[in-house]
């Protein structure tokens, strides 16, 4: 299976629970589990190739111009992380199935989980750093959804926000860092970047790129001083904590450091920053973990500490340290995920996670006790479990590093032993209590199976490290260091400094546990630093700054905000004009003809009158119609018959639409602005007019600066598109994709209008509407007979004209847009002449369906090109020869144009129909009252 497919599978799986909105937990879990299993199998079949030293790659060219290709690769490092993500993912899905209660929305939960899984797999298998960044951001977003999954818990929402703020901030820095790195390396392909160690490390951009990338890695992997978000994220459901916050997401930062290790590591800067931050994190995380009373809080800070440990190992920059880091990644994932699941089991059974309220569970939950005990001993680094092996390797590396590393690492190990033992001692040992919130008991197999499997890994990989984990750790370490390594793992190395340090740590840790009560009192006496308060203060200050800026800029006055935007646009335009390179105004002007002069005068008079009289709304509408007509004439005068046809038909429907709306709006605009406001608006308007007019003039006085692509279209319109009307061929063929998007937007606009109408008619506005009193006298006969008869007689004729305009569109002015508008006008005339009810009775096709049919027809026509092995929307045409008449051209573009036609008819009619429905509802109460009242004989 290709790496690209492996990445795609979780995303495909994510769609399933979402599709089955009301699925049972079983269905959702099985659907997700099978996709995860499939992806895992896909990884497994690639194992022989990876172990043979191959890099399995998929390269899909995408936007190669900007260096973005969908490149994926699977090497030892990707394999190790991939197996962790998918393997533990599978266990988590099983566990989550039994952890979630019936009230929890299982569908969304599993969708988020699969999204996260896909994003994570994407990170570890990407061979393009830009792709990696996209997946990186996706993990931040999906983890936000997962942490805040219990929306009703305020701490869940706050924790999710904090996690997103911190990791997304780091993600932004990382984007900048990765772009710098790509600049230096000259490629965004990861395998190219990591091959260019010398070029990167000698570049002046090395340090900024390193700092920015590390900011991203440290925030994601909760390294000091960004560690505070991880414990807050524990408000998430426990399966999420076990998955994201022990095994996968928090290791994304570690993964990135390991991935870029060959390019970035080995410099004094790398050692100084990464190893030191890792060491400090390891110590601080361990010290805080010891005094956590929340089970998950303890595990969270312990995770922080262990992530620090791995970071420090990577920071050392030696092959042996990198190998130890890889080993500990597996060891930590196995025991920590098991512990998180154990914490979830305890929480489920006893309904509390507070260590102070627990104790004595040993006899009540013997199975859980066994699992947690082994995992905790591994976490403490007690032989013969896998945690011991990695801790020995770590201490050995720390001892051989310079300075205080050995001493501080030993101290951190003391804490590690102490909190691990405390977890066992304070929860399971001691007397059985009688005040648990509910009676604890061991869970069903669904909950304990996952942790049990992980504990089996803990034991087996401790006893037989070479047989169980040797191969994959070796492959991963070789991939990280870009060298073929052959490490050997053993429980017993003889008496060496590491063993002594380890023994010291165990003894110290046990002593610290005995002295826990006084130590806790001491801690409480010490000044307390609240990371949350600091974070809130920073975020609060940023919010206030943003609010002050926004409020100062926009005070709720639309006109003020618009004017500010316009002025800014003008300034930008002016700056661009001065910095640009406009050629001399060399293009000769056309002579002014009398016709044009008359049109110009009419236009200016129309505009002037409109502005002066705009408060009389009906008159203003007429004037707008006049201006629109002159615009259409302008189009036809300057060789654009298609535009003129479109403009004039749009003009008709627009005016009808505005008239319908004006029916309910005040007929006059009251004067409620000061002279000063009007003056300043006029000034802004004059500036905008001068700017746009001046720019138009400047463009028209110059020839094209570059050869236009229009020549190609004119030349090939007939050859490739089979049509003489170049504009139509561009719309349905050359730029068919644009048109496809545009009719979709038109359809969406119409549906928006429909939805707004529905809301209006269903909401509190409906009552007001029913009470509405007409403010204008109505015509005596609402549906004049003459008009009705004339429109009915005209309908077939108009439809034929529409059809004609449509059919000839490919070769002469016309086409789907214009034909759609003409047919709409014909239909609307019936509304006006014979009434809404009359028209609705006689047409049975819902306009929504027309829109859908149109978009579908256009899409299907476009997709048809695939069957001919051509890209989407490639058109084909041919001629049919029938005896007696001229050859008939048949083009697939006609199918596309039919889609355009249907969509335009549907959209225009749906919009007008919605307004008509409002008109029908308006004044209903009065009409009902009138009907109920006896009509006086004199008025009848």
């Amino acid at each position: 299976m290709t790496p690209a497919l492996i990445v795609a599978l979780p995303f495909l799986g994510a769609a399933l629970p979402g599709l089955m909105v009301r699925t049972s937990r079983n269905a959702a879990a099985i659907a997700c589990g099978s996709f995860t299993l499939l992806a895992l199998l896909g990884l497994i079949v690639n194992i022989p190739a990876v172990l043979a030293g191959e890099v399995v790659a998929t390269r899909i060219p995408w936007m190669s111009q900007i260096g973005l290709d969908a490149d994926f690769m699977l090497d030892g490092l990707g394999l190790l992380f991939g197996i962790l993500i998918l393997g533990i993912g599978l266990l988590i899905i099983l566990y989550a199935r039994f952890y979630l209660s019936q009230q929890d929305a299982a569908g969304p939960f599993f969708t988020y989980l699969m999204l996260f899984q896909g994003a994570m797999t994407g990170i570890v298998l990407s061979d393009n750093i830009l792709m990696l960044l996209v997946f990186w951001e996706l993990t931040s977003l999906s983890s936000f959804l997962l942490i805040g999954f219990w929306k009703h818990l305020p701490e869940g929402r706050q924790g999710a926000r904090m996690a997103l703020n911190v990791t997304a901030m780091g993600g932004l820095a990382m984007i900048a860092g990765c772009l710098l790195l790509g600049q230096v390396a000259g490629s965004y392909r990861l395998s190219d970047i990591i091959a260019q160690r010398e070029a990167i490390q000698s570049s002046a951009l090395y340090l900024p790129a390193l700092l920015l990338i590390l900011l991203g890695a440290f925030t994601k992997s909760a390294q000091f001083p960004f560690h505070f978000w991880l414990p807050r994220a524990m408000a998430a459901p426990t399966p999420v904590s076990a998955y994201l916050h022990s095994a996968t997401m928090v290791k994304a930062g570690i993964f990135l450091m390991a991935r870029l290790w060959p390019a970035l590591a080995g410099t004094p800067e790398w050692f100084g920053i990464v190893a030191t931050v890792g060491l400090v994190t390891m110590l601080i995380g361990g010290a805080i973990a010891l005094f956590q009373d929340d089970l998950k809080g303890l595990l969270a800070y312990s995770t922080v500490s262990h992530l620090g440990l791995i970071t420090m190992l990577l920071g050392f920059g030696t092959e042996a340290a990198a190998t130890a880091a890889m080993f500990h990644i597996v060891a930590h994932a196995s025991f920590k995920a098991a512990l998180f699941m154990g914490a979830g089991i305890i929480d489920h059974a006893a309904h509390t996670r507070s260590i102070r309220r627990l104790g004595g569970l040993r006899t009540l939950m013997p199975l859980t006790f066994g699992l947690v005990l082994i995992a905790s001993l591994s976490m403490a680094g007690i032989p013969p479990f896998n945690g011991f092996l990695s801790k020995e390797m770590m201490l050995e590396q720390a001892a051989s590093a310079a300075g205080l590393f050995g001493a501080v690492a030993t101290l951190a190990s003391v804490f590690s032993v102490a909190y691990s033992l405390r977890l066992v001692a304070h929860v399971f040992l001691g007397p059985v209590r009688h005040d648990y919130p509910t009676a604890p008991h061991d869970p069903g197999a669904g909950l304990w199976l996952g942790p049990a499997l992980l504990v089996a890994v803990v034991i087996l990989s401790g006893l037989f490290p070479n047989a169980t984990l040797g191969w994959i750790v070796t492959a991963a370490a070789s991939a990280v260091t870009a060298q073929a390594l052959h490490p050997h793992f053993a429980l017993w190395h003889g008496v060496n400094p590491a063993l002594l340090m380890s023994a010291l740590a165990v003894a110290g840790g046990a002593a610290l546990l005995v002295l826990w009560q006084p130590a806790d009192r001491l801690r409480q006496a010490l000044p307390h630093i609240d990371a949350k308060a600091m974070f809130d203060a920073i975020v609060g200050a940023a919010e206030r700054l943003a609010a002050a800026f926004t409020d100062g800029f926009s005070n709720g006055s639309m006109s003020r905000a618009l004017a500010a935007q316009l002025l800014l646009a003008l300034i930008c335009g002016l700056a661009a004009w001065h910095s640009g390179l406009a050629g001399p105004a060399a293009r000769p002007m056309l002579p002014v003809t009398p016709v044009a002069l008359v049109g110009w005068v009419m236009m200016l008079v129309g505009i002037g009158t409109l502005v002066a009289l705009h408060r009389r709304r009906i008159l203003a509408l007429v004037l707008v119609g006049i201006v629109g007509l002159i615009v259409s004439v302008t189009f036809v005068y300057f060789s654009a018959p298609d535009l003129a046809l479109t403009q004039i038909s749009v003009e008709v429907v627009t005016v009808i639409l505005l008239l319908l709306a004006l029916n309910f709006l005040p007929k006059r605009t009251v004067l409620d602005t000061s002279d000063l406001k009007r003056g300043s608006d006029a000034f802004v308007a004059a500036l905008a007019g001068l700017g746009v007019g001046g720019l138009a003039f400047a463009i028209m006085r110059r020839d094209f600066a570059f050869p236009s692509i229009s020549g190609y279209m004119v030349e090939n319109s007939y050859k490739l598109g089979g049509g003489d009307n170049v504009v139509n061929v561009i719309l349905v063929d050359f730029r068919g994709y644009d048109t496809y998007g545009e009719i979709t937007v038109l359809g969406i606009a119409a549906l928006t209008i429909f939805a707004l109408t529905e809301t209006l008619l269903g909401g509190r506005g409906a009552h007001r509407l029913h009470q509405w009193v007409r403010d204008m006298r109505r015509a005596g006969d609402r549906h004049p007979l003459m008009l009705g008869v004339a429109t009915r007689a005209l309908l077939p004729l108009t439809l034929v004209v529409g059809l004609y305009i449509f059919l000839r569109g490919h070769n002469a002015p016309g086409g789907g847009f214009v034909a759609g508008l003409i047919v709409s006008v014909a239909l609307v005339m019936h509304y006006m002449a014979s009434g809404f009810a009359w028209a609705m009775q006689r047409q049975s096709i819902p306009y929504h369906a027309l829109i859908a049919l149109g978009v579908l027809a256009a899409g299907v026509t476009g997709a048809g090109a695939w069957f001919a092995g051509q890209p989407f929307l490639t058109s084909a045409f041919g001629y049919v020869h029938l005896p007696g008449i001229e050859p008939i051209e048949l083009a697939t573009a006609m199918g596309f144009d039919t889609g355009v036609f249907l969509c335009v008819v549907g959209a225009v009619m749906l919009a007008l129909n919605s307004l008509s429905r409002i008109a029908r509802e308006a004044g209903r109460d009065h009409a009902a009252a009138d009907a109920a009242a006896p009509i006086p004989a004199t008025q009848a």
């Binding site: 409109l610 654009a640 003489d724």
Partner: protein, 115 residues
Amino acid sequence: MEFLIASAIGSLTAAGVYLSLRKRSFAVVLGMTLLTYATNLFLFVTGRLVIDQPPVLREGVTAYTDPLPQALVLTAIVISFGMTAVVVMMALGSFIEGGDDRIDLPRRDREGPGA
């Protein structure tokens, strides 16, 4: 001729901007309609002014005006109808629901639910 067109575009823009800066929804709709005309004309004339050379291929004719801006403007005209319709509907909805046709955010909404 170029000056006539440019000044017409400028006037349409100025009038459109002025009306868009009013405080009542109907005037803004009118202003946006004028701005649409101005923008469409502006886009159209980037193909330069050409008389009697419509981009419809004919035997023996070699000179045609630039068809590309026309294709762009054609869809723009139709889309702007959609946009006008949505804006009109919003104006109507807010008038019926809210009782007036002012477009500014009322003070009570601006200060948020807490105030």
